[in-house]
């Protein structure tokens, strides 16, 4: 019987034009076009939360996101976060009013840090997630021997020229309720989470840190919780391609002594 807060497992769904989830295989089932079906399936599997990332190219396509959020809200009974292309307080309010529990901001926060405060003040820190894409850097501006990571924006294509940890601290001071920390180096590699980076952030920040990028198998999750001290871990492909169910990962985590919510 557990008495600590559970470590959370968060599947991430990429959404394009409000409807499409690309390349999702689910055992024998192949779901394309309806992220809601997939979301419901993940909830049944034991997902603790879901994140929807809008990868639509245009503003018009993003408008369809609101309809999707409404539909998701009516079909899910666990919390979910929506991110991607969120650039103003109005965007945030619209998504929350449509039923999202939290909204994540990334590039727009770097370009306009006061947006974090605006969201926290108007809607509460609990719904303000700042997503940080971070890449390990050899630059050592401070002269210390500590490893450093730099912030990337615009989908990881551009360096913001900022230290990722310092940026995370600023976000928390401005009112961010959670930090979604994605490793640019590990993302898509199936090489395991960036434990060194996750541990630095998770141990020093006074808000939950969601680790993202590199999940390969149950062992990756055991490592990111026991060694990286992450509060939650996010992954996409290992769930979408059907090699691991959330339940199977949670079984392994339980055996490794990690507290997770069992259904």
């Amino acid at each position: 019987m557990s008495t600590d807060l559970c470590k959370r497992i968060i599947p991430c769904l990429d959404v394009d034009n409000g409807v499409t989830v690309k390349g999702v295989k689910f055992g024998d089932l192949r779901i394309i076009g309806d992220p809601v079906e997939l979301a419901v399936l993940y909830e049944k599997q034991g997902a603790d939360e879901l994140t929807f990332l809008d990868i639509s190219a245009s503003r018009d396509e993003r408008a369809t996101l609101v309809k999707l959020v409404e539909k998701v809200a009516h079909n899910l009974s666990i919390p979910f976060t929506v991110g991607g292309g969120v650039s103003s307080l109005d965007d945030v309010k619209r998504l929350l009013a449509s039923g999202a529990d939290k909204v994540s901001i990334n590039t727009s926060a770097v370009n306009k840090p006061e947006l974090v405060e605006q969201i926290a003040t108007a809607c509460g820190s609990q719904c303000c997630v700042v997503a940080i894409d971070a890449r390990k850097t050899t630059t050592n501006g401070s002269g210390s021997s500590e490893p450093r990571w730099e912030v990337l924006i615009k989908g990881g294509t551009v360096s913001a020229g900022r230290d990722a940890f310092e940026w995370a601290v600023e976000c928390v001071e401005r009112g961010a309720g959670e930090i979604l920390l994605t490793s640019w180096d590990k993302d898509g590699t199936l090489d395991g989470f960036d434990l060194e980076m996750v541990r630095l952030f998770a141990e020093r920040l006074p808000v939950p840190v969601i680790a993202s990028g590199g999940a390969r198998d149950a062992g990756s999750f055991i490592d990111v919780f026991t060694l990286g001290h992450a509060d939650a871990a996010l992954a996409a492909s290992i769930f979408h391609d059907g090699t691991w169910t959330i339940g199977a990962i949670k079984d392994q985590l339980t055996q490794a002594g990690v507290t997770v919510r069992l259904c």
């Binding site: 008495t3 807060l5 559970c6 959370r8 666990i78 039923g99 609990q126 006074p206 939950p208 919510r261």
Partner: protein, 196 residues
């Protein structure tokens, strides 16, 4: 099933609780300043934000006195999240602000490395007919009931805390049952059935 009244003071988790009631086929109507509750239906009091802000909104709508009077007259009342905290006398979050005072005790801040508590925690009850389970919390503060018997569920976050209360017609859930999957929805349904 009995129709319930959902106190709508704007913002907060009103949307997610509405959707939860819809999914459970529990009929409800929104009550507020323009349509105050009249005690003919059980009352759900949601709330997200600061203790003082929620009390301010209630009193601005003239609802604090209405809810207090109805609850004291026996109308079943369920407070959720801050809605549970304001059932008590006061909170260190908003010094000097009086709560509804329907339950004796105060509300204090977690002394933990990460505040707020965000995520799923395990709740247990000393009442054998209330099953343990996992529920979703988002809270920096928690209630300390003066009367031990009023504690319905307990949990642990850097120490034990009160996760739910029940005394006579007054019930409170600190967690978000509407976001706590099947287990949480069952708790809402059970409450509605119990006040039928």
């Amino acid at each position: 099933m009995t129709e319930v009244d959902l106190v709508d003071i704007g913002g907060g988790n009103i949307g997610s609780i509405s959707r939860c009631l819809e999914r459970l086929s529990i009929p409800f109507r929104n009550v507020g300043a323009s349509k105050p509750p009249d005690g003919t239906r059980p009352l759900i009091v949601p709330g997200v934000g600061a203790f003082g802000a929620v009390m301010d909104s209630l009193s601005a709508a003239g609802l604090d006195e209405t809810i207090r009077t109805l609850a004291r007259a026996g109308t079943p009342c369920l407070g959720i999240c801050i809605g549970m905290q304001i059932l008590f006398d006061s909170s260190t979050e908003s010094p000097g602000v009086k709560g509804l005072g329907l339950l004796k005790g105060g509300v204090v801040r977690f002394d933990a490395p990460k505040v707020p508590q965000i995520g799923w925690n395990y709740i247990t009850s000393s009442h054998s007919d209330w099953a343990p389970g996992y529920v979703y919390f988002v809270n920096s503060y928690y209630a300390q009931p003066a009367v031990e018997d009023h504690v319905l569920y307990r949990s642990n976050y850097a120490g034990p805390f009160c996760a739910a209360v029940q005394h006579a017609n007054i019930t409170g859930f600190q967690f978000h049952p509407e976001k706590s999957s099947t287990f949480g929805h069952n708790l809402i349904e059970r409450w509605v059935r119990s006040v039928n």
